[in-house]
Amino acid sequence: MNETNDNILNEVTQGDYKYGFVTDIDTETIPKGLNEDVVRLISAKKNEPEFMLEWRLKAFRHWQTLTMPTWAHLTIPEISYQDIIYYAAPKQQAKYASLDEVDPELLETFDKLGIPLNERNHLAGVAVDAVMDSISVKTTFRETLAEKGIIFCSMSEAIREHPDLVKKYLGSVVPSTDNFFAALNSAVFSDGSFCYVPKGIRCPMELSTYFRINAANTGQFERTLLIADEGAYVSYLEGCTAPQRDENQLHAAVVELVAMENAEIKYSTVQNWYPGNKEGKGGIYNFVTKRGICKGANSKISWTQVETGSAITWKYPSCILRGDNSSAEFYSVAVTNNHQQADTGTKMIHIGKNTRSRIVSKGISAGLSNNSYRGLVKVTRGAENARNFSQCDSLLLGSKCGSHTFPYLEVDNKTAKVEHEATTSKIGEDQIFYCNQRGISTEDAVGLIVNGYAREVLNQLPMEFAVEAQKLLAISLEGSVG
């Protein structure tokens, strides 16, 4: 690639992070460090019933026996778990009954992020649960949803008000002993979103959680639980941002999805945590466990993710296809630039008969970043007629980045059809030439090609967010045309 192109490349990939501001607001924090007392304190602060405290302590004790796994293709500086503040909440506690009571500073913050909490100015038909640091600030449209019998609230509320549902499903997909970060999350999670869609109900609007880290030195540990009962449908979106800081902050979330018979869950993520600066200083460590189970027959779970932020991303939204005829999809665009690292992918576990899964993963790496796809497709002995198709493409922009593919295929049934294909290449000079020839500048051409490349995934996002994601893609790659 010649020098001019390199320059354009640099321009395109060096966009600034728009959400790096800090909200000046009184924050209540607890002292740094992690021990049983901290777990008890968090539980007490949330007025949790006894069973939750027991559950947390069990997870904490198990976590103490674990060491951080090292198998990912990531270089992670040592994390001192005693140097993190495990609970931080904007003061003025309590759930706001009406919007007037919400700190105007907070409202402004979410306005700035494009997430109006005022229902009149709502994002076309989207109910939002806004989470700042450790607590949920406001959940919009609760009443409208409640009319249909849909429960959409913060996790802490759900624990207090719907303990039976929580008891039944919390940890049923990602057990507290699942892995290092899931155990940590189970012990100290502070809030998150809870949603239950009853039998036969089609959720009338998009549900959404917006996560914002604000306080310094804190970790964010939220927990999301979504249950779609028989025949229900829900589409859910999560977004996230954080201020620009020099130190790294840890985000270890757990998301559990449960789809009963004939239910469908669509879960979309636009992840835009602060990725660190151009020298790789600062940024969020995004270590997330996401898993869904197609419990009933004919159920469907679809994961869509656009990953542009975080210094280090380590997550594998997975599906357990337990019900017969159930299906699962995973669509992902992961963009890494500068010093970012990502090791992401999915697991599809086929257990039921006639189960189908589809994986489409598009990696784009630029700058000095490393981007890996890691996935497992497992067909167990009883999974008759299982079908999987995986496609993992990688696009390299610049000669100093890395792109890797680590798929695992484990097939234990002769009726299964499992296919995987992957390609790695850079943007073809002939493609650029074709555009140039038609009067399209190299910069625009790269934007065009990258967007076309990611289209298959972006198309899966709810409309309002597809536009945002497309812009985000352009910003993340600003300065990296090649």
Partner: protein, 446 residues
């Protein structure tokens, strides 16, 4: 489980013997390898590179281990009674890992090509061997074990610009009246602009349990061409761990095929390092398994320099309770621009209990590259089967035809004509179940 001790003890017992037979450089290599092995031990159940094949239990006390050749009585003519028709080769025989023709350990072929016993080459050409031996092998525990103990094997040296016209055929015979462990070491050196073809076949002549841990190193100089073909045809009580390292200099060209017809447990590690611009390699593999067999092919291709091409095609047909595994890793180093790397792994499962694990991997650090991989696990195409049935072909025949067509893609890559014909025939008989055990050298069966 810890079987490391068995080998540390064996090493201590035989240290003097090994040292008395080895020049200084080899003594040091053995010592270092043993230290490395003690430190690392056998790969555990969770070791990523041996994820699907746990080997430590096989490296137990149940096998006799000899560091000097044992006198074995058998009829040599029995082995050579028929050749591959029209295949004219230089034949070399290894019996239980030791060079057989003791009276004539190193032969000189036309063009000053040296071929013969590795042990003898260590004695006669220590400098040449020292220059290459173990230079590019990896830190694998089994390789270290082999370096520490292996005494003999095949040595081949092709001088600059020389072409070995006839293929060299290496026959590995395992024959014993007791359970036996065999570790042999082969070294092939091709100087710049030289060419050679080697056909290797492994087979067992007695029903005893065998454990083989073999290492082959091949060095291709600038512009050298090497054609390597290996047939594995051992009985179902045998365990074979085989490591092959190819080091390729500028513009060298390699073709290597491994065909596994029979074997109890087979693990093949194939390592190719493309360390010169314009080098290219083609690696092929095919296995047919039934009963409780287990075949694991692990391939690592390192594109260390720009402008290299690699191509891999590995296939498997699995029946009964057999297990198959494939791991293929392509690494493209930071400055290896203009790399083209392809890899494909396709497998057919014929029975409910058969299991296949596939792990194709790409690790790429350069941007101007074209790399792709694909993996499939499936069954015979219903439509194709129906097409054949509709034309009056019995189900059994139709299935055989489809399996044969699936396997033929690999056989088609065999460029030595008589061998091609022979393998096509052998594969067909293997698929029909007629080839139950090899009676003789794999390429002579029948």
């Amino acid at each position: 489980m810890d079987n490391t001790n068995i080998y540390t003890a064996l090493y201590q017992e035989n240290k003097e013997l090994l040292q008395s037979l080895s020049p200084d450089f080899l003594v040091k290599l053995r010592e270092d390898a043993m230290q490395h092995f003690i430190q690392k031990g056998f790969p555990g159940k969770k070791d990523e590179s041996y994820k699907y094949t746990y080997l430590e239990p096989y490296f137990n006390n149940g096998y006799n281990k000899y560091l000097s050749p044992k006198n074995i009585q058998f009829d040599v003519n029995e082995i050579f009674h028929c050749d591959v028709p029209k295949l004219d080769t230089h034949v070399i025989l290894l019996v239980n890992g030791f060079y057989f023709d003791a009276a004539n350990p190193l032969k000189t072929l036309p063009g000053d090509v040296i071929v013969g016993s590795f042990a003898q080459a260590v004695k006669e050409y220590p400098e040449l061997v020292a220059k290459y031996l173990g230079k590019y092998t990896s830190g694998d525990s089994f390789v270290a074990l082999n370096t520490a103990f292996s005494r003999d094997g095949i040595f081949l040296y092709v001088p600059k610009g020389k072409v070995v016209e006839k293929p060299i055929q290496v026959i590995n015979v395992l024959i014993s009246d007791e359970e036996l462990m065999v570790q042999h070491r082969n070294l092939v050196i091709l100087e710049p602009n030289s060419q050679a073809r080697v056909v290797v076949c492994d087979h067992t002549l007695s029903p005893n349990k065998f454990l083989t841990n073999a290492v082959t190193e091949v060095y291709l100089g600038e512009n050298a061409t090497f054609d390597h073909f290996k047939v594995q045809n051992e009985h179902n009580d045998s365990v074979q761990v085989s490591h092959t390292y190819f080091y390729q200099d500028k513009a060298s060209s390699l073709r290597t095929s491994t065909i596994t017809l029979h074997g109890g447990l087979v693990r093949n590690n194939l390592n190719i390092k493309l360390d010169g611009e314009g080098a290219e390699c083609h690696a092929f593999g095919l296995f047919v398994t039934d009963q409780a067999q287990h075949v694991d092919n692990s391939v690592f291709v390192d594109h260390a320099k720009p402008n290299c091409t690699s191509n891999q095609l590995f296939k498997g047909i699995l029946d009964d309770q057999s297990n198959g595994a494939f791991a293929g890793r392509i690494l493209v180093d930071r400055d290896s621009q203009k790399t083209a790397a392809y890899q494909r792994n396709s497998n057919i499962l014929l029975s409910d209990e058969a299991k296949m694990d596939s792990k194709p991997q790409l690790e790429i650090y350069a941007d101007d590259v074209k790399c792709s991989h694909g993996a499939t696990v499936g069954q015979l195409d219903e439509d194709a089967l129906f097409y054949l049935r509709a034309r009056g072909i019995s189900e059994r025949e139709a299935k055989l035809m489809l399996m044969y067509a699936f396997a033929y893609e690999i056989i088609d890559e065999i460029k030595i004509e008589p061998l091609h014909v022979r393998m096509a025939d052998l594969i067909e008989r293997r698929l029909r179940g007629d080839l139950t055990r090899c009676n003789n050298c794999a390429v002579n069966c029948g």
